[in-house]
């Protein structure tokens, strides 16, 4: 396989994953804003920060308003991480690697772009926002289904999956990075209604409300939430789950190619350093530092993968 193709597959799936996660983030932001009308600007600020697009927003707008924030995250062409921008980039990457994709995967990606492009020609008003976000999630599910159902389990599949899980780990990590303080066991966090809303919002932004209840019951506790998002082995958006998947897919590549670059080791090291421990230890280190270090190391691993498999040179 061409190095460029591996890179195209990796980025195609990263962008698709980002689009889906950003849609979830918007959904939970919308929900928060509805519940806490007074401090809406703060909430949208935290959505922008989590999506990593706050600086770009301030270059264009002075104040944070709901409409502008939603438009910036959803469809602004000046925002390279807006949902519309990343779906365009996913589709461009899919075109680049067209020969590596099955017909089903390609048409799912292409149809996603065609629909999003259509829906996002104009500002999406509040009434249509839920349906638009739903469309994004459904299309992402369609692409994933086509990928799992039609692609050969070879290196093409491995790079696609690695992209997905690197992005997902990064996105879950960012949510924790911005909201860590809500999960800290301080004297004041005794389960006030405000806390509950915050905690549920975190779960909602990774689509894990139901999964959490199944695992921990109806009582939302910050340490359980942190445990669930970081260390749970069955929760498909937890750092643990994503990291395992990256390790797995890198090991398939190693088997297939008969060699492994430094990224194989780096993925094992990432697991051992951050995920082979108890949640109480993580709180001991400091949740915020832990997450920041994790995100930095994840970024390094991603760059090492790009080098090992010659994405660009």
């Amino acid at each position: 396989m061409l190095g460029k193709t591996a890179g195209g597959l990796f980025w195609m799936s990263r962008y698709l994953e980002r689009a889906e996660n950003t849609a979830r983030l918007l959904e939970s932001g919308q929900r928060m804003a509805l519940t806490r009308t007074k401090n809406s600007a703060e909430e949208w600020g935290s959505v922008l920060k989590t999506a990593g697009v706050l600086d770009g927003y301030h270059a264009k707008y002075d104040d944070i308003t709901k409409d502008n924030a939603v438009d910036w995250v959803l469809r602004d062409a000046d925002n390279p991480s807006s949902i519309k921008s990343v779906i365009k980039q996913a589709r461009d990457n899919a075109r680049l690697v067209r020969t590596a994709l099955t017909h089903d995967v390609w048409s799912a990606v292409n149809a996603t772009w065609m629909q999003i492009d259509e829906v996002m020609k104009r500002r999406v008003n509040e009434r249509d926002l839920p349906a638009t976000l739903e469309l994004i999630r459904q299309q992402a599910a369609l692409v994933r289904g086509a990928t799992l159902g039609t692609m050969l389990r070879n290196d093409i599949f491995d790079f696609t999956r690695i992209g997905t899980f690197v992005e997902r780990a990064d996105n879950t990590g960012r949510i924790l990075d911005v909201k860590y303080y809500v999960l800290l066991p301080t004297a004041f966090s005794v389960g006030s209604s405000l806390d509950n809303i915050q905690w549920e919002s975190i779960l909602r932004s990774v689509g894990a409300g139901g999964g959490y209840r199944m695992t921990h019951g109806e009582k939302t506790r910050p340490s359980d939430i942190a445990q669930f998002l970081i260390l749970d082995q069955r929760m498909p958006r937890s750092l643990h789950f994503c990291c395992r998947k990256i390790q797995e897919n890198l090991s398939y590549l190693k088997k297939d190619y008969g060699f492994a670059g430094p990224s194989g080791e780096a993925s094992n090291a990432l697991y051992e350093k951050y995920l082979d421990q108890k949640i109480s230890d993580i709180f001991e280190i400091g949740l915020h530092e832990y997450i920041q270090d994790f995100l930095a190391d994840l970024g390094n691993l991603s760059r090492q993968i790009e080098i090992d498999y010659r994405f660009y040179e």
Binding site: M1, L2, G3, K4, T5, A6, D92, R95, L96, R98, T99, H103, W106, S107, N110, A111, M114, D155, Y257, F259, Y309, R310, E313
Partner: protein, 472 residues
């Protein structure tokens, strides 16, 4: 009666032989069902991404080439004639290319003037003395034919550089098979779907001597914003070979190699869809980011096969075109089986003055132009356009040729009002290898969708049709 030859209907409204089945089918069909099918076809094309980018338009603009559901039908007898004519012409073109890059016998014999070769922009001195594997220069040719009567076919252009459109030939057939399977059980239409397999075989048969085992073939594309990118990806996919861009390639140890996830791997045959000019920034256009530095040196040393060979453009140059009857005769010793369209070379003062006096009846083309850009169609041009073109001609006469406006045949399209005749041309696709010349029975039929229009180019509002060659 129409002044144009219609391929489906005789003057009295009866069906011509090859169209009997289609005519019967169409009459029995429900018009609204057909309309729904037409829309369905467009949806499939859009979803599959069978689009082309329009140069000079916004980067994101990808257009569909309109597809018409009424097939264009060619009888077995008509096809046999065309096939013989095309084969003769393609053989002559390859002999011509070999000759002008070696001894130039045709110039010595006085059949083609020396300045036509040496002074031609498409002539590549770097190719002098180079013999490509199997003596094949034009691995893929798309000969543009037009028809003016039951037995009158003319060659309008020999696309000997990088002919495009073959993916439409294949996708149009796939679409028709899906939409109207019953039509195919009632007729004996020859198959076109083995083109990609034949292409791969044909390319592999031209591998250089240094190729080890099964030759590695790759398609070289300028990238996703190229107007024919869909086709490049489609062919690579169908042939099961890599689709590469210039930045995927590098010269390593005298071979052209592609950067794979496991390191650099040599390519034996490169089917390039990049123009000569952009192929090698060291040897040609130094600003090109599309090519591979040093690839021409590897090529000259026999380290890679480039298809089509660099420098083949001279054979489809519009000024050289006017010499094709002489070229065919010179190399095959036979009279040309396919006619050339009469051509005035404006570099010649006598021809130029004739052309100047008759602009309103002629088609004037740029010698190096393509895609229907920069041409004048006298009969449909306004006075202003003609006078503007007259100035261009005066300024650079050698840049133009002129041809009479041919009465292109028509085939009906399924228009709003029902069947309506529109002008068509035909581009059959020819594969050349040391194993022989293979012509896919069919080709790309382009159709001018605008009533009365003679311009079939997709960049100018043309559409396509499925092209059927019937079995005997």
């Amino acid at each position: 009666m129409s002044e144009y030859f219609d391929e489906m209907f005789n003057g009295d409204g009866s069906l011509r032989g090859p169209y009997e089945e289609i005519g019967r089918w169409f009459n029995a069909e429900d018009v609204s069902r057909l309309r729904a099918k037409q829309r369905e076809a467009e949806k499939v094309f859009r979803l599959t991404g069978i689009t082309f980018n329009v140069y000079g338009k916004a980067e994101a603009e990808e257009r569909l080439i309109p597809f018409d559901i009424v097939p264009r039908v060619i009888s077995a007898r008509e096809w046999q004639r065309l096939e013989r004519g095309i084969e003769q012409r393609v053989r002559a073109i390859n002999a011509f290319l070999h000759d002008i890059y070696h001894r130039q016998e045709i110039v010595r014999a006085g059949r083609v003037p020396a300045e036509m070769i040496a002074g031609n922009e498409a002539f590549l001195p770097q190719m002098l003395g180079v013999s490509p594997p199997g003596q094949v220069y034009t691995h893929i040719v798309g000969v543009d034919l037009v028809r003016t009567g039951p037995d009158e076919f003319f060659v309008l252009e020999d696309n000997a550089r990088t002919p495009s459109g073959v993916s439409y030939m294949l996708e149009n057939r796939e679409t028709m098979l899906k939409m109207f399977p019953e039509l195919f059980s009632a007729t004996n239409v020859r198959n076109v779907s083995d083109y990609p397999r034949n292409l791969r075989r044909s390319l592999a048969a031209c591998a250089p001597a240094c190729a080890d085992g099964e030759p590695t073939v790759a398609v070289l594309t300028p990238g996703i914003y190229n107007s024919a990118y869909y086709e490049h990806a489609f062919l690579a996919d169908q042939m099961a070979v890599e689709l590469v861009e210039g930045h995927d390639l590098r010269v390593v140890d005298g071979r052209v190699c592609m950067r794979t996830t496991r390191g650099y791997k040599p390519i034996d045959v490169l089917y390039r869809r990049v123009d000569d000019d952009f192929l090698d920034p060291l040897n040609f256009n130094p600003d090109s980011a599309l090519g591979v530095p040093g690839i021409l040196d590897v090529y000259r040393a026999g380290g890679v096969t480039i298809a089509n060979a660099p420098g083949t453009g001279i054979a489809d140059d519009k000024a050289i075109y006017s010499y094709m009857p002489e070229i065919v005769e010179f190399y095959t010793g036979e009279k040309p089986l396919l006619q050339n369209c009469p051509t005035w070379r404006c570099s010649d003062p006598v021809s130029l003055s004739y052309v100047m006096d008759n602009l309103s009846e002629l088609v004037v083309k740029e010698v190096h132009g393509s895609g229907g850009y920069g041409m004048l169609i006298g009969p449909t041009a306004s006075k202003k356009e003609i006078s503007a073109f007259r100035d261009k001609l005066k300024a650079r006469p050698a840049n133009y040729i002129a041809q009479p406006t041919l009465s292109l045949s028509t085939v009906p399209i399924f228009a709003r009002s029902g069947l309506a005749p529109r002008h068509v041309d035909l581009r059959p696709f020819v594969l050349v290898s040391p194993d022989g010349i293979k012509i896919t029975p069919g080709g790309l039929t382009r159709v001018a969708l605008k009533k009365g229009s003679l311009v079939v180019n997709s960049s100018q509002g043309g559409g396509t049709k499925d092209t059927w060659v019937l079995e005997d």
